[in-house]
Symmetry: C3
Subunit: 356 residues, 3 copies
């Protein structure tokens, strides 16, 4: 067991770093206190914006050598202090279906929006229901489901239900299983979730998809089993969609410091559902605690296995359990370091698991 | 179980899309009917060629916004409609050995050829026996094998038998285990296939290999076990070699729409042998049905596991079983989307599993 | 079983290649004899240096076609013949701790140095104790450990113990768990290795890490279990740190032909601890023998599995066992071929497992 005799804010070096210690503690308190609100220090916010802490690493600006270390630290500190930074819009919100004769009906409207990935960082997004990722659809094994797609884009589109083993005519591939859904048109997918096909799946465009998925036409489609196994039951259930397209390196549509911390109480079981909707592989590393892999693409693994770094490739989903036995604020990031940190501080694919 | 009550061609939206519906059905019928011949519509073929649907995504050309969606759909449709498009040459053909005193003898001639990866897309290839991939060599555990290499290239070369645990002197690494085979020379490898070393292996150049393998000096080397286990027995046995070198993104040396569909009957067991001979990792995604992983690099996995997206890295081989329980035409592609689709439609690493 | 009836130097073609055969045999003898000294042929050394056989592939120079094959072979031969080439500095040397009241104390000094990755190839490195990778720290489950970091860099830094489940305050993330360690400062980490947290871990900078780790601030942190399981016991225990940053493609800080051969006796059990400290995924391929995977990130896998090509992502550690049953010099390299070979010969991520 980790040594818990020391407080998480007790570190050897603190006495000689009172100012920084104060800032760090303030930042930590803001986070650990559960408010998760944006830092009130508007200077920090401005530093972030001007440092360009967003989805893509800014080019380092020339600094006189003598002050370079201090200047760099200041930018790094501003990023951390701003976390979790407030931005407009939240992706992946649970969309409650409406019930029609026992059918769960979801309406999705695809349209072009402006999306804020980090404070002040506005990008063009193609989104379902004004969210990146699109709203989370959550149903149960055996459910009858209707997904109504309204296309308000200037391009045709279509939805593929990635991981669901559906009848071919609702597979969502234009010219193979359906016509493309033209601009202005509405298209309906109706199907029954197959027994045994539960788990963490996705929905996304399958037309001009490198562009359309890259711009945000994607979301989580989660099928809850009728009888969840003991290992699958968790106190906190978190879906983490990775992306690396036109919006830079993002977790659930946001870049550090605007990413969302994942909060659990000491002793709780945390389930993280990794989904990669990008074009690159991201080895996800959790500090301080290991992850136990329980499903791959929704399918239970024959025997759960443990790691602290999990390689998640485009199209893959991995569900893991973290037994939150180690209190603190734990960095959680892609370990391809240029996806997570630049000379200006952490950015992109970084968040924290906070065990309170 | 998937809902099979609806026909695979019955989709909600069809009535308002009669022309497109017709084309789609025609395309589907051509495929599902088992002819797998190139589409007779020469206009579609021309559209493909002019759209540059080949191993690499063409740069999108500027189109007036008002017609852009329609123009894009037309290109996408032409690609699908042409599938499977006819091209000259077929890679990976089974090479029957000649028997000499109980030894299975294969002759391979390495030489420079022109290779058609997609309709009209000619590339320079360095090939064994005029094929990319080279011919499939298939032997049995315990067999005595002789591979005679004729080098008609302008460069030296050598063959490494990737995955086979052979005596060092036939390992195929110039200056470590043998001299390079000079232009014009012939070189002979002779060995016994070790017991237990069955499965999906490869042979390829191990001299100036980034260039030589990238240009096509590669092939499948399959060792059939003496006593195949129940799980390994399949109705359809398909070898799928991935590549991403000088020829663009290819499956068995061809780019969509010239890739080969994989056809199985409803209820059949399909075995796919993935082999990556490229320089990038490709997460392979199958629609509509999952894959059960049975071997890694020829070695049985301790417990088979399931997925719909399988990450295949350079040098790796993965054998999977697909229980073909879901009828239809299922897209099957690399899920790094820019390897599979451009603004001009699907290309590169795309094919279909067709369950009839 | 592999055919062992033939000598490893007995190959069909030898008689017609006496000069090359001689060189090859000489090179092999130098290696297999266990001296592992640099080749005495200074011409070969010069050829390497002028060919730029280092961490990055040189651009091929134009050669008249008629002599091109011979010239290419000569460069390839020079690279092989020079292996293992002598360079200044050896990374990852075991650092014996000093004992203070039962605490194992390690001192690490981070500073800028010049590092030779291949003969004549000098690069700037940021190193712990003048080594790339930094010295290997090796402790036991349950040990009390103190790591004293002296920062002699011009930038702040910090150490993260990657894979260790430590109390939050020693996690090494500036502004989250500690202040940055400024230039000229000393910082102390003290902790107890948690029970069960044994295996192959790492330590590296977690401040401006894309730059600092890329330049060499990294090392292996190995925790020996109290009671090693039978499968973990090995005759040879080799740590292999992969990197692909500012120093080019390296194994333990060196590029072929300056990489270190891994030597074992016939019948021995070889354990290789793969650690990826780079920014790319490297599928590691061993010729002639398979690897049995026993741990992932230090955690025993539920059931060992076999392969010859193992995909190692940034931040991951994989421990494998090789049962050295096949005598010879076996190429061992990343199978992303441009990481291992150029027109000028093998370079970068290449070494050999030599079974004597």
């Amino acid at each position: 067991m980790p040594d818990k005799s020391k407080s998480i804010v007790d570190y050897t070096h603190e006495e000689s770093h009172s100012r920084r210690g104060f800032l760090r503690k303030a930042a930590f308190a803001a986070i650990a206190g559960g408010t998760l609100a944006a830092c009130s220090d508007s200077e920090a916010q401005k530093a972030i914006a001007s440092a360009g802490l967003a989805g893509k690493p800014p080019a380092p600006s020339p600094v006189p050598a003598i002050n370079a270390a201090e200047a760099m630290d200041k930018m790094h500190e501003a990023g951390i202090k701003a976390f979790p930074a407030k931005t407009a819009g939240k992706g992946g919100q649970l969309l409650p279906p409406r019930l029609e004769n026992g059918v769960k009906v979801f309406e999705l409207t695809a349209k072009k929006i402006q999306w804020e990935t980090a404070p002040g960082q506005m990008v063009e997004a193609w989104a379902y229901n004004d969210q990146v990722p699109g709203p989370q659809l959550r149903v149960r094994e055996g459910d009858r489901v209707k997904v109504i797609l309204h296309n308000k884009l200037e391009q045709s589109t279509a939805i593929h239900f990635h991981g669901l083993e559906l009848p071919n005519h609702v597979d969502g591939v234009p010219f193979i299983t359906q016509p493309p859904v033209k601009p202005g048109e509405t298209y309906t997918y109706e199907f029954t979730i197959p027994e045994g096909n539960h788990g963490s799946h996705m929905y996304h465009s399958h037309h001009n998809s490198a562009t359309q998925v890259g711009l945000g036409l994607l979301g989580a489609f989660i099928v809850v089993p009728r009888n969840p196994s003991a290992i699958e039951r968790a106190d906190v259930d978190y879906t983490l969609v990775l992306n690396d397209g036109a919006h830079g390196y993002t977790f659930n549509g946001k870049s550090f410091p605007a990413t969302e911390p994942i909060v659990a109480k000491l002793g709780q079981k945390l389930r993280i559902r990794f989904m990669n909707e990008g074009m690159m592989i991201h080895p996800m590393h959790l500090h301080g605690m290991h992850m136990t892999i329980i499903t791959k693409d929704g399918w239970p693994v024959p025997a759960p296995w443990r790691c602290d770094t999990l390689n998640v490739a485009p199209g893959e989903r991995w569900d893991v359990i973290v037994n939150c036995k180690n209190p603190g604020t734990w960095a959680f990031h892609c370990h391809i370091l240029p996806h997570a940190e630049s000379e200006h501080g952490m950015f992109g694919m970084v968040t924290a698991v906070i065990v309170t």
